[in-house]
Structures are given as structure tokens and as C-alpha cells.
Symmetry: C2
Subunit: 76 residues, 2 copies
């Protein structure tokens, strides 16, 4: 269904942030993003372009496809 | 490197089209897209959004991540 990718991205970004034990504010500051940008992505509201996705993955030092993969139930 | 995803998408779309034995014109017509849109994606020039990627994958009846995965050398 359309919009699934950005919702999956949001869940994965939130999980990544929480693994780091950071608030959205701290996480956004570390990445040099505005907090509302991070919040919007985590809520699945932002329809990122492929390049924006690449920049985000580069900043997080992970593979862009990792951000789009459905987390397996075990890691929920 | 930035832009890698759209170049990988382009290679995968071209491979998918060639498997179907279609020209860009025929492929675009079948999908209801303009030929230059298909050509631009295949050349890795279009920075699609996640939703556009989803629509393309839906039209091709494949998983969007399939379009972003590096083809293994065997399938080159």
C-alpha cells in the first residue's frame, strides 16, 4: 500500500534512535537536522527522496535498505 | 555514494524491461508512463520519492526493495 515504505522507515529510524538511547531532540542535534524533520520521518509523514534517504543512512552509517526493511517481529 | 540508489534502480528497471523483451516505448506505454520518464529512471537521472518508487513497483507487481537491491553479478 502506498506510504508503507515511509512508515517502515519511520519505525526503523525510531528503533535506531531508541537503541542509541537518544531523544528526538538529541538525535536531531547529533545529525544536524531539525527535530521536526526527525519527528516527521518517525511518524511516517515524510515522503523522502532516494537521495535524502541516502544522506540519512550515510549520517547514521547504515545501509539505506536497512531503513526500508520491515523489522522482523523478533526485533519489534 | 549519493545517487547510487537511483543508478541501481535504473539498472534494475532496465533489466526488468529487457526480461520482458520490451522497448522503452512499449514498456512506458504498458505502464502508462511517458517514455522519457522511463528513460530518465533507467539512466539513473531521476531522484524518485519513496511513494513514486512504490507506485512503480506496484505497476510492475514486484517488491519496491527489489528495485533498489544491487543485482548479484550472476544476473548482470
Amino acid at each position: 500500500m502506498e506510504g508503507d515504505l515511509q512508515r517502515t522507515l519511520g519505525r526503523n529510524l525510531r528503533a535506531h534512535r531508541q537503541k542509541l538511547g537518544l531523544s528526538q531532540e538529541q538525535f536531531a542535534e547529533r545529525l544536524g537536522y531539525h527535530r521536526t524533520y526527525v519527528g516527521g520521518i518517525e511518524q511516517g509523514l515524510r515522503n523522502l527522496s532516494l537521495r535524502s534517504l541516502e544522506r540519512l543512512a550515510l549520517d547514521l552509517n547504515i545501509d539505506p535498505l536497512e531503513l526500508l526493511r520491515e523489522a522482523s517481529p523478533a526485533t519489534e
